[in-house]
């Protein structure tokens, strides 16, 4: 029996069950199609429930899945069938709130995709190889968002490259319109 609480996967899906960002920490789903099948099944099983105020929970194929929805985003955390449900819920809450903080309150699919790097870093800070790293949303978001410069970097060089990058981006956008 594994004594340490383990997370099997964390999923962020959209309102059609499509992946936004997913992270699997267990070998239970060895192939991408196995993963997709799991996501599809979880989504189908939960989409009609109302998990917008409190986190909801269900048993599924000997996994416990806790989940919470906001706008067109569906958050899931999966654990083994003997896992402490409340620990799983704590991880879900940490993920959910951290994403809320990182997206500055505008939590929807569009924002999530545009800030996918933040979401991926967020997943990286919550669980490492199945072991819970952190559940406090403020700490998680803090770790992800510490985007400031390394003290050792030459400041001048930085500002110029950044300015160039912004300019280039604006240009491409206006061209694309």
């Amino acid at each position: 029996m594994e004594l340490c609480p383990l997370i099997k996967n964390i999923l962020l899906l959209d309102s059609e069950g499509k992946r936004i960002a997913v992270k699997y920490y267990s070998d239970d789903w060895p192939t991408n199609s196995a993963k997709e099948a799991f996501e599809k099944a979880v989504f189908a099983k939960t989409q009609k429930t109302n998990a917008r105020t409190d986190a909801e929970i269900t048993m599924f194929d000997n996994y416990v899945v806790v989940y919470k929805f906001v706008q067109d985003l569906h958050f899931f955390v999966t654990g083994g069938e003997n896992e402490n449900e409340i620990i799983l819920a704590a991880v879900l809450q940490g993920f959910f709130d951290a994403v809320g903080l990182l997206l500055r309150g505008t939590v929807d699919k569009k924002e999530a995709l545009e800030n996918l790097d933040l979401i991926l870093l967020c997943l990286d800070e919550i669980v490492d190889g199945g072991i819970i790293l952190e559940t406090d949303a403020n700490v998680i978001a803090g770790k992800v968002a510490s985007h400031s410069m390394d003290a050792g970097a030459p400041l001048s060089e930085q500002t110029i490259t950044q300015a160039l990058a912004t300019a280039r981006e604006h240009l491409t956008r206006s061209l694309l319109k």
Binding site: T58, I87, A90, D117, L120, D128, I132, A145, T161
Partner: protein, 888 residues
């Protein structure tokens, strides 16, 4: 709180389905990744490209080896940039790419530099990345830094090192991690909650094989220095493990550490409270006094506003209800309100718990509540409820009326096949087990088939009606339902209905004339099968005034089971060529074979064996019994006591594959050799096994039954029977030689030559062991069974089993040696446990019930010691069991 810095584009355009990844393509992104090689790095742009790469991987896209290597090398260039955000993405990317050993070397120095950097974020992440991708040799180089990191004052760095340690301990290099014990111990005292949690997890894993050390760890920490709720949950798990392992030693008196668990019920964190409550309910042999406080907190959770808490509580109580239904009854009121819970998982668990704990008087009220609930849950939940109701009904047979009504009501409502089948199965079981429920149950089934969309269920019910219906007080009332089928249903159901009608006609004389009328109408059916059946039954029942067979024969024909394997019958019918001679069912071989013998006079008809299913004969005792009794030589051996599982006597993929099944009778043993010829160019004839029983003194060969012919890839059996002293568990070794006449077969025509050569083939030895005389028969309540056995017939002794791979391996070895049935799931040994109790039950030859209690303990690192206590109805048998173990 750190202010989140989010990159946002102010002039972003607000089209509804704009996605930054719209139309993204792997090839294009890989091209883009060239910016990583720019001399002047643009961190922002690089970050975006990495995000795109990660997006592709996340969507299930895979990179070829070449692509992955290219991306990896490009990414390593990014270590030049000092941008923290970019560096973070680089770390994630490297982990996703999981580089090969020779690639790892490229990044090692960069990561090691980050590991010793002044920036904590670098250090923490570099440690995680490095430990993820590293192999053993590198680990020794960085060990010093890791040890320092464990006690680093920045909790993020310490946690990163500790968590990496946990992974390393399980995978690459346990020995090195074990050397960090002192630092980890220091980290357990950390003020940072998560550090404490990770340190405790690692420390326990380092010490998990040292029982004393775990014991010490638990006793010192339970005195209260753990602050983190997660660490406290871990501690509770470790504590219950210690309790489990010490339980065998001191059964009387107070349970050690129970006070700690109970104290945790008052913790401020819900996860700790729940963990403790669950741990208490799972204690071995928990008393109701110990349970009460745990049940009380779970009861509070039941009325929580959070679904997760309600679910956790009701799931735990549901488990408790299986073993201690009385302890849960206090929660019944709260549980009843959960029946209407929004979350259907919770509602279903609540209902099944209530059904387990409910008493006779509350059944009716409960059923009323459930009726409302059933209409709006999914089929899978309904099946769970139906099964719970079935067991409730078997528990309170007096309540069969309301429960049966409930089942029939839900049977009429909408539902899928699995759900309907569960209901029908339940009703059938109730009819069988509760005689009073029979008539109403049958009527419910009749009503159901009036409007049943599932052919399978209709025919099953018709068959069941045919057997049970005629025995009821008024069989005539079922006829209408059955005959309606003949009008309204598809051909399969109509044919089933015809058979059922015939059964009524055969069993109930008063109905016979009326059944004839109905059957005659079926003669005009437009389906062949239905007409054939009707004709057949009219003839057998004598409706045409023809010569009637005796009543017994008719009943045997209608109700008896067909003792011929259907495969054989099918094959014989296929081979039958229409002629003057009518088909004789007695010519169909009764021996269980996948294929009939290929007849030589039918050239070209040789089965194209390759596609034939290689499945051996069915292994159930019933099938064996039938098979053996059909062989005249063995018919007088009496009742078959036990048939062993097949034992292979040849290596896999040899010319001839032979396995043997040992059939044990009271005074005889029959060896059934299942032979398969795997050479297409050979036909074997007159196949026998020559058995040398010189090492089995108590056995004397009495009969053998050769196999006439063994064509390619079509298994056949030959038998050898031995006499042995009656009722005695004689053991011995037998050496076997396969002897046969081999004939060459021309592969193009499939025809065998006329002359054969006699040949032999050495098989492996076969042993009759004591376990062959033991039937696996379980008992439902081991403790009761144990206590009702006479203590005078108990024999206890201790054995040293010597060094073993694991405790589980030792437990399995003893179970196999005795050939007994493990009870109450005690054959499963929890990981890392140092001791284990296993309960076995069985029936020894001579129909003597035997119960065995095995206590295993690890003595030193690998040595296993075992205490064996046997109770049986006969002292001699108890002694015999000890003999088996002592000589095994």
């Amino acid at each position: 709180m750190a202010q989140p810095l989010v990159k946002k584009d102010d002039d972003r355009d607000d089209e509804a389905d704009y996605s930054p990844f719209l139309g993204i393509e792997k090839g294009a992104v890989l091209q883009e990744a060239r910016v990583f090689n720019d001399p002047q790095l643009d961190p922002r742009r690089c970050s975006q490209v990495i995000t795109k790469l990660l997006y592709l991987l996340n969507q299930g896209e895979t990179f070829t080896k070449v692509e992955a290597t290219e991306v990896f090398f490009a990414v390593t260039k990014l270590f030049q940039s000092k941008d923290i955000g970019l560096r973070r993405m680089v770390y994630v990317m490297i982990k996703e790419l999981s580089p090969s050993a020779d690639e790892v070397i490229i990044v090692t120095s960069s990561l090691m530099k980050d590991m010793t950097s002044k920036t904590d974020m670098y250090r923490a992440n570099a440690i995680r990345v490095l430990c993820r991708i590293t192999d053993g040799t590198l680990l020794t180089q960085i060990e010093r830094y890791l040890k320092q990191a464990i006690v680093d004052k920045n909790p993020v760095v310490a946690s990163a090192a500790l968590v990496s340690g946990i992974h390393l301990l399980q995978q690459t290099n346990p020995e090195i991690v074990k050397r960090w014990s002192n630092e980890v111990q220091e980290a357990v005292q950390s003020r940072a909650a998560l550090v404490q949690f990770h340190a405790l997890a690692l420390l326990h894993q380092i010490r998990q094989n040292d029982r004393l050390a775990v014991n010490k760890l638990v006793s010192s920490l339970t005195k209260g220095s753990v602050r983190s709720p997660l660490a406290q949950c871990l501690l509770i798990r470790y504590t219950s493990q210690v309790i489990r392992e010490s339980a065998n030693n001191n059964q009387a008196g107070d349970r050690p550490f129970y006070d700690f668990l109970e104290g945790c019920l008052r913790h401020k964190a819900e996860m700790v409270i729940f963990e403790a409550a669950r741990a208490i309910t799972e204690l071995n042999g928990v008393t109701s006094r110990e349970l009460t406080p745990a049940i009380t907190v779970l009861q509070l959770f039941l009325s929580s506003s959070k679904p997760v808490l309600r679910f956790a509580a009701v799931r735990t109580l549901n488990k408790v209800a299986m073993t201690h239904p009385m302890a849960v009854t206090n929660c019944n009121i709260d549980m009843e309100s959960l029946i209407s819970d929004q979350n259907r998982s919770i509602a279903t668990l609540a209902i099944t718990t209530l059904l387990k704990t409910g008493n006779e008087s509350s059944v009716d009220r409960l059923m009323k509540q459930i009726t409302n609930f059933m209409s709006d849950i999914a089929d899978e939940f309904k099946i769970v409820v139906v099964e719970a109701i079935r067991s409730l009904c078997l528990k309170f047979p007096l309540k069969h009326r309301s429960l049966m009504n409930f089942l029939s009501n839900i049977l009429r409502e909408e539902g899928g096949f699995e759900y309907k089948k569960a209901i029908v199965d339940s009703i059938v079981i109730l009819i069988r087990d509760i005689p009073e429920a029979k008539e109403s149950g049958l009527l419910h089934l009749c009503e159901f088939i009036e409007d049943c969309e599932f052919t399978y269920l209709s025919t099953q019910i018709l068959h069941f009606l045919g057997i049970e219906g005629p025995k009821t007080s008024d069989p005539s009332k079922y006829i209408r339902y059955i005959y309606n089928r003949v009008h309204l249903e598809n051909a399969t159901v109509r044919a089933g209905a015809v058979s059922t009608l015939a059964k009524f006609g055969a069993m109930v004389d008063t109905l016979k004339p009326r059944v004839f009328v109905l059957l005659r109408r079926c003669l005009f059916d437009n389906d062949d099968e239905v007409r054939d059946r009707a004709t057949l039954y009219i003839n057998t029942l004598g409706g045409d005034g023809a010569v009637v067979e005796t009543g017994e024969d008719v009943k045997e024909f209608l109700f008896g089971s067909l003792d011929i394997p259907l495969v054989n019958l099918e094959n014989s019918l296929k081979n039958y060529e229409p002629s003057e001679e009518s088909f004789d069912i007695n010519s169909v071989p009764k021996e269980v074979k996948t294929q009939p013998l290929a007849e030589k006079k039918a050239p070209g008809k040789k089965p194209t064996g390759l596609g034939a299913s290689p499945a051996g004969p069915p292994s159930t005792v019933d099938a064996y019994e039938k098979l053996l009794s059909s062989i005249p030589e063995f018919a007088n051996f009496g009742k078959l006591f036990k048939s062993s599982a097949p034992v292979e006597l040849t290596e896999a993929e040899t010319e001839y594959a032979v396995n043997v099944v040992k059939h044990i009778f009271d005074g005889h043993v029959v060896f059934q050799y299942n032979c398969t010829n795997t050479i297409p160019e050979q036909l074997l004839e007159n196949v026998t096994v020559i058995v040398d029983a010189s090492e089995a003194e108590e056995f004397a060969e009495v009969a053998s039954k050769p196999l006439r012919s063994l064509p390619y890839d079509s298994p056949g059996q030959t038998f050898v029977a031995f006499e042995k002293p009656e009722g005695v568990p004689a053991v011995g070794k037998f050496s076997n030689m396969l002897r046969f006449i081999v004939k060459e077969v021309d592969p193009s025509t499939g025809e065998a030559e006329d002359d054969g050569v006699e040949d032999e083939y050495q098989l492996e030895e076969l042993e009759v062991v004591a376990a062959d005389y033991m039937l696996k028969v379980g008992v439902s309540n081991f403790r009761n069974a144990w206590e009702t056995m006479d203590a005078d017939c108990e024999r206890v002794d201790e054995y040293g089993l010597g060094p073993r791979e694991s405790l589980a391996e030792a437990v399995n070895a003893v179970i196999n040696l005795l050939g007994m049935q493990p009870c109450e799931g005690t054959e499963v040994v929890p990981n890392n446990s140092r001791s284990h109790t296993c309960l076995l039950s069985g029936v020894y030859i001579g129909n003597v019930k035997v119960l065995v209690r095995l206590q295993f303990g690890l003595d030193g690192p690998k040595d296993v010691a075992m205490k064996l206590a046997v109770r049986s109805e006969d002292e001699a048998v108890s002694d015999a069991i000890h003999e088996i173990v002592a000589s095994g």
